[in-house]
């Protein structure tokens, strides 16, 4: 039994995932729960466990593909016909039951998300009758519901077994229509796929995915669309009364289509009955006519093509001179986060320098002892301690702005985010309750979190709940920068590189270890004076590390 595994929503409400690595190949045998692939969403990298036991029949995506949630990623031949065994039948509830049913013989039901199939019962029955796998039919109804016509179209284009475009197109060719129809069908196939995909899914699918992923699905829907238009040349009807379900009426309104003008051959109770695909076909035909008119007026024979090309975005790619990489996954997530922060919080940055010879000595002294406990002691834990001490003195830097309620929320806990550069981009794991931890504990925990961030092995929770962040850009080099606040926090402290630099001491220029500090604040909540006061306090603690004993 072929099980079509659709990409589940692997994060919380993510719309797509990038395939990072396959752990299986065609022909491999997999057990239930065995990891099939790694998928990167805009939040993290997750394992994709197999929902069934069986043999890999086909991989539908390649490494690097961005797969929309709900698309089939792999087909698995399940080992056996599933006859309800003890646990499955007893453990309650229809979902269990459905899953099991799906495994059953020649039923044609493969579970969609959570075993649900969005098609009315008579359509599911028709699908069985025509031998169509209803779960692989692209629905044209409201929200993607599979209609009777969808199933019939799927059956006539070879059903679910293959989505062989060539055969489908030749099917159109064969049809009794004149050459013009055949050529329309083949010309239009690709652009239409992309365009119809965009309009079908609304904002869920961004254009780029429609392009980068001209999936089987869209091919199929293109073919169906093409044959539909081939069959019916929509001339406007003119009726007094038209029957349709409410969602169809709404669609008509959205498409700006007059219900009574939509041609249909279906009737119910003696009245014309219109379904969503009738609306779409009609709306498309109307658009096409409008476009043709426009073309005629501008006397540009290629205007129509140019428009469609612009929509697909393909015209923009020029070989060799630029390469394009998807702005997706973690990159896009970081980007969106930065955008939100900068456009929401007016940033102001305060710079100062701590002279930390004493801290350098203290750390050198403590380092071997920490080593004995298996911990490598960096400067970061000291800075974190100093930051907590300063936050206690300037609590306004440990806040968040609740815009809805117009309140500044003071957090009386100190969870410090540590910005970490990884291959995939910036991650900010959070060390919780820093105020209650010793230097060694902080050091160990920070090391563990940043290490796992680099290995992309962080749980989402480990990047949540921060109250203030630190970014150690100096580890790579540089003195000052303008850190972007880890919104909705209201402040972030950037650390420059620790180096010997000239400082003036008792009127003389001497070399001393210094740590340049860059503090960005959300100026809506925090004023410059508070920022300066905070940094002064941090400096005081860093310059006199014995003060840290008090903390």
């Amino acid at each position: 039994m072929a099980f079509e595994f659709e990409l589940p929503d692997v994060g919380e409400g993510v719309a797509e995932g990038e395939l990072v690595e396959w752990h299986v190949a065609v022909g491999d045998h997999v057990a239930e729960d065995e990891v099939l692939a790694d998928v990167e969403t805009d939040k993290s990298i997750v394992d994709l466990p197999s929902p069934v036991t069986g043999t890999i029949a086909e991989l539908h995506a390649e490494v690097g593909d961005v797969v929309p949630v709900g698309d089939v990623v792999v087909t698995i031949d399940t080992d056996a016909e599933v006859n309800g065994d003890a646990d499955e039948t007893t453990v309650d509830a229809e979902t269990e039951r459905e899953g099991e049913d799906a495994g059953g013989e020649d039923s044609g039901e493969t579970p969609a998300s959570g075993g649900r199939v969005f098609a009315p019962p008579h359509v599911r029955r028709l699908a069985r009758e025509l031998g169509v796998d209803v779960t692989s039919v692209a629905g044209s109804g409201p929200g993607g519901r599979v209609t009777e016509q969808d199933v019939r179209a799927a059956a006539s284009t070879g059903g679910s077994d293959d989505d062989d475009v060539a055969s489908a197109v030749s099917k159109v060719d064969e049809s009794d229509s004149p050459e013009s129809v055949a050529s329309t069908a083949s010309d239009d196939t690709e652009p239409k796929a992309a365009v119809s995909k965009v309009s079908d899914d609304g904002d869920a699918t961004e254009p780029e995915s429609a392009v980068s992923n001209v999936s089987d699905d869209s091919k199929r829907s293109a073919v169906r669309k093409a044959s539909d238009t081939g069959e019916q040349r929509p001339a406007a009807a003119d009726r007094e009364k038209t029957l349709a379900v409410p969602a169809t009426r709404k669609l008509a309104e959205e498409e700006g289509v007059e219900m009574d003008a939509v041609p249909t051959e279906k009737t119910q109770d003696g009245h014309a009955f219109v379904e969503p695909e009738d609306i779409r076909t009609y709306a498309e035909a109307q658009q096409a006519t409008q476009q043709q008119e426009a073309t005629a007026v501008s006397e540009t024979a290629t205007a129509g093509e140019a428009t469609t090309e612009a929509v697909t975005g393909e015209a923009a790619v020029a070989d060799g001179e630029v390469t394009r990489e998807p702005y997706s996954g973690i990159r896009r997530s970081i980007g969106q986060h930065m955008e939100e922060s900068v456009y929401t919080a007016p940033h102001a940055t305060h710079h100062d320098t701590a002279v930390i010879d004493e801290l350098v000595a203290t750390r050198a002294e403590l380092k071997p002892r920490a080593q004995q406990r298996g911990v490598s002691l960096t400067y970061l834990p000291f800075v974190m301690k100093a930051v907590v001490a300063a936050l206690k003195e300037f609590p306004v830097l440990n806040t968040t702005l609740d815009e809805d309620n117009e309140e500044v929320v003071y957090r009386h806990f100190y969870n410090i985010g540590v910005a970490t550069a990884t291959e995939a981009g910036l991650m900010v794991p959070v060390v919780d309750a820093v105020d209650g931890k010793s230097l060694v504990e902080i050091a160990a925990e920070t090391a563990d979190l940043t290490e796992r961030a680099r290995e992309r092995d962080l749980a989402r929770e480990e990047m949540q709940g921060g109250t203030f962040s630190i970014t150690n850009f100096g580890a790579i080099g540089g003195e000052y920068a303008t850190p972007i606040i880890n919104y909705p926090e209201t402040a972030i402290l950037g650390l420059g590189s620790i180096e010997q630099r000239p400082v003036v001491s008792d009127g003389e220029v001497v070399a001393a270890h210094t740590l340049p500090l860059s503090l960005s604040i959300d100026h809506r909540v925090i004023d410059g004076a508070e920022a300066a006061g905070f940094v002064n306090t941090v400096i005081e603690y860093l310059e006199n590390p014995t003060l840290l004993l008090l903390e």
Binding site: T89, D92, R97, D101, G103, G115, F118, P121, G143
Partner: protein
């Protein structure tokens, strides 16, 4: 009566005349199959004789009494007297009408009815055994068989049903008088329904449940409404209590329980044990076929209700959870259609369920958590009944209607309703789910005012982000 060993042939043999069996038989006959139905006890099975129907009859009768007696704030002053015998014989009359009805439906459809117990004698023959001396048996050879032997209550060791003090749900439904006090072991749906019935006839009811709450398959906020109401009525709950033994105590009994706080005893006149049901297969001589039962005694089936043996089907309680009459109906129908070569399958998208407590629970499809687990982004709308005009006028405002949908497509995924007539209200959501209807479809459908179904409408609008009345 056929005596001796005579063999007759049939296209479809149905074993058991409960909801699963009689529906399969009627549907098969409608599709021109030659059908034989064997029932050992009473047509209509558990549901009609000892389950759904009798229990609902008593639920309604006691509701009438209770409502009449507690409507002084509505200006109605009454002190209803309950004649338990009258109530039970009214119920028995209903049951007789319905079982006769089932028998007639079967014979009118052309089903060949045989009374007796059927057991397998091979892959394609069964023997019908008649109880009693000298009744003999007859053999039936069949092309297809549908097993619909149902389920029976689970007995806890030491609490074997004696019909005196330790009662099954079936025995409780036929009590001639209301006991002064009753212990109910088990806070599942049967226990909760019957606890409510008896509390309303004046019995002091105490529920002993081993788990931390009643109705554990439902979400907490759903259960809470029902438990609170039961408590208001006077039902006493003891959770975390496992009944371990009992002894006679005058005309009544003392039941011992174990809990984290140690041993405790509870005294009462009667004790109902309702701790679940188990499938009936031992009446069948299954060994003669290659059908094996699962660990829990069920017969496993595929999406066409087929067992491991191609031409033998199993439907209803014997084929697995959830053990509900309407699930048995559906499976019986599908099995018969598959036998008749129709393109049928068990492809229902959700199995609705109801609990006829006060107030009722009706649920269908996914909860919010289940929707999340299934990979949807749930959009949830909830309408409290205290905001429903109709709920106010029926004087029953505890509870709510909750609708769960997929935020992206708008498809309705599930609903949880607790409140008056929840079992009726849930039907609309069940239809929406089967049709693949979107929130928009239901929201755009006009609902009658003032009705409880408006609460469903309002919850749907809530999920779509545009409620009006709440």
């Amino acid at each position: 009566m056929v005596v001796g060993d005579v063999t007759t042939g049939t296209e479809l043999l149905v074993i058991g005349g409960g909801p699963g069996g009689y529906v399969a038989a009627i549907r098969g006959a409608q599709l021109d199959l030659d059908v034989t139905l064997v029932e050992k006890d009473a047509y209509g099975g558990t549901c009609l004789n000892h389950g759904c129907i009798p229990s609902k009859a008593l639920v309604s009768a006691t509701d009438v009494a209770h409502a009449a007696g507690s409507a002084e704030h509505m200006g109605v002053h009454a002190d209803p007297a309950i004649d338990m015998q009258g109530m039970v014989s009214w119920k028995d009359k209903l049951v007789r009408t319905l079982t006769k009805g089932v028998e007639h439906l079967c014979s009118d459809a052309g089903v060949n009815l045989i009374e007796g117990r059927a057991e397998f004698a091979g892959h394609d023959t069964a023997r019908v055994v008649h109880d009693g001396e000298g009744e003999g048996s007859e053999s039936i050879s069949f092309e297809h068989a549908i097993i619909a032997t149902g389920s029976r209550p689970i007995e806890i060791p030491g609490f074997e049903f004696d019909g005196e003090r330790i009662l099954s749900s079936r025995q409780v439904l036929s009590l001639e008088s209301a006991p002064d006090s009753m212990l109910v072991v088990g806070g599942g749906y049967i226990g909760m329904e019957l606890a409510t019935v008896f509390q309303k006839v004046g019995t002091d009811v105490t529920v002993l449940e081993q788990l931390p709450d009643a109705l554990p398959t439902y979400e907490d906020d759903v259960t809470e409404v029902v438990r609170d109401r039961a408590e208001e009525l006077g039902v006493d709950f003891h959770f975390g209590h496992r009944a371990t033994g009992w002894e006679e105590d005058g005309d009544g009994l003392l039941v011992t329980t174990e809990s984290d706080d140690g041993e405790e005893t509870f005294a009462a006149e009667k004790c109902l044990v309702a701790v679940g049901r188990r499938p009936v297969t031992e009446t069948l001589n299954l060994d003669e076929t290659d059908i094996e039962t699962t660990e829990n005694g069920f017969i496993g089936t595929d999406s066409k209700a087929r067992t491991d043996i191609e031409h033998i089907f199993a439907v209803g309680d014997v084929a697995g959870e959830p053990m509900l009459a309407h699930k048995a109906f559906k499976e019986g129908e599908v099995a018969a259609e598959v036998v008749a070569d129709e393109p049928a399958a068990l492809d229902y998208q959700a199995m609705p369920a109801a609990v006829f407590t006060d107030p009722e629970i009706g649920s269908v499809g996914m909860t919010e958590a289940e929707a999340e687990d299934a990979g949807f982004t749930p959009a949830v709308g909830q309408m409290p009944l205290r905001a429903s005009g109709r709920a106010l006028t029926v004087d029953d405002t505890d509870g709510f209607v909750r609708v769960v949908a997929d935020a992206e497509s708008g498809f309705v995924l599930g609903g949880q309703i607790v409140g008056p007539d929840a079992s009726e209200m849930v039907a609309e959501l069940a239809l929406a789910i089967e049709m693949g209807a979107t929130l928009e479809d239901v929201a755009a459908t006009v609902h009658i005012h003032p009705t409880l179904s408006e609460a469903v409408h309002e919850a749907v609008k809530g999920a779509a982000g545009r409620s009006i009345h709440y």
